[in-house]
Symmetry: C2
Subunit: 284 residues, 2 copies
């Protein structure tokens, strides 16, 4: 079998089987569909290798436990990830793990899907709002309920921004729809804490590792609008964004269009980390 | 064909076709599954007739418009409802309309499902909390994101209650996980307003019609914990609950275990309305 013949561009991995995407289905009664009882992860793929796959799987396992969702065979899915990416012929892009609760009394489902993706070009414009409050702890889980994310994102785009920042009712700035937020002030870093109101981002965690390694002071503490207005630099982190500088927070703060020194340094360190751990080319 | 042979207990209506439930599927890439982009309605069936079907369909249509979801053929689904219930042999129970956005670039889906159900026996014990705040207006739509409802309900049951009441960050008491809340004080009725934070319940609307018809004073106004503590009677309304008296709001108020005069009168009027409009037997 030649390498070309082994590349199958339109298949998914579904509970251990390779299935044409057009034939990959779930029951209409799957509680992932009928009640949003499911989780997903989006994982950056570089040189055919998923970056920090174990961290994504660990987050998913922890969320399943916390929310009373099924104990999916995530280890089986993780073991299948790299062979699946090879079969798909995907070198640069994203891998998605989709886990649904299944029909009442039925079998839960885990799927792997892969598609091309690349980091957005240039810095991000951020927009404050909307306000969001989930029942305690629910914000820490990457569930299938994404409609409010889409609406928030569409609102941001309509306002001329790239990403919306959810606010808590107490005014705390929480996170973007697909990103975590960092501020730099006086040479030190701040990002909202993992208090159950934000997703524990994998890229966020990698950046905090790099910050510690580089000896940059950092604190995880609630951020308010005034903190944003006083920041020297700001960036967002995410699977697709990597470390992406913010050029403006609409109505609050304009930054130098050239990323500040700490943002630029962390973006470089992050890209080096991805390249080193995946042995793949650098994104973006 | 005998009537018995025409009853098919395990089928669904899926985009105009009758399909065995075991063969009814949606694509894995359906955005209803992957992103919660979909809506549902649960409609009481009495004597084989869905009660206030037009109101449910109108709510779904309005939500689809407001949320930028597809313009499903809801009229086609509504026209198929009663024949489908007859085919299913369902006289008393609930009809569900499930509408999903479909795969990216693909066709959206509408399904009808039917199952037996009956009103819960006796009065309800209610529990205050958890706090919830959705982006503006999102609370007015019956989307597929139900995990927070399940968690809230499980929390209420763990506390010894039957139903949880969501609170707003400002302390306003919003609604139950499947019901709207009413209070009675000094012979007049109060229920939270349709300010985008609660679902515009169909049973709630019927009760407000009946209240006006009966000359009972009623206002739609924000309710706080103190209003609950001072109420003479309280009841919840919902498709499955009908008009159900509350016997207690945990930690806030105990009511007479026998439903109060206004609650009892409205429960009777509501059941009469259902029976009259469906020509079916009385539930519960």
């Amino acid at each position: 079998m030649t390498p070309a013949a082994s590349v199958t561009s339109d298949v998914v991995w579904l509970d251990g089987r390779i299935v044409p995407a057009s034939e990959a289905t779930v029951p209409l009664s799957d509680r992932g569909l009928t009640a949003g009882e499911g989780l997903f992860e989006t994982i950056r793929v570089c040189g055919g290798i998923p970056f920090r796959l174990e961290s994504h799987v660990a987050r998913m396992r922890e969320s399943a436990r916390a929310l009373g969702l099924p104990a999916w065979d995530l280890e089986g899915a993780a073991a299948a990830a790299t062979p699946f990416l090879r079969l798909r012929g995907l070198s640069e892009g994203k891998l998605k793990i989709l886990a649904t609760a299944g029909p009442p009394g039925g079998r839960p489902t885990v799927a792997l899907l892969a598609e091309p993706a690349s980091a957005p070009a240039g810095p991000a414009v951020l927009a404050l709002g909307p306000v969001r409050a989930l029942p305690p702890g629910l914000g820490a889980h990457k569930t299938l309920a994404r409609l409010e994310h889409r609406l928030a994102q569409e609102g941001a785009v309509a306002a001329g921004a790239d990403e919306a920042l959810f606010l808590a009712p107490d005014g705390a700035v929480l996170e973007g729809t697909r990103t975590n937020l960092f501020l730099v002030r006086g040479g030190s870093l701040a990002t909202p804490p993992l208090d159950g109101r934000i997703l524990p981002g994998i890229t966020r965690a990698v950046v905090l590792e790099l910050v510690r390694g580089a000896g940059i002071p950092a604190e995880e503490a609630p951020l308010c609008r005034e903190d944003l207005a006083r920041a020297d630099e700001s960036f967002v982190t995410g699977t697709i964004s990597g470390v992406r500088a913010a050029s403006e927070i609409l109505g609050v703060r304009r930054f130098d269009p050239v990323p500040g020194p700490i943002t630029a340094r962390l973006a470089t360190l992050f890209n080096e980390t991805v390249r080193r751990e995946t042995a793949g080319p650098r994104w973006g």
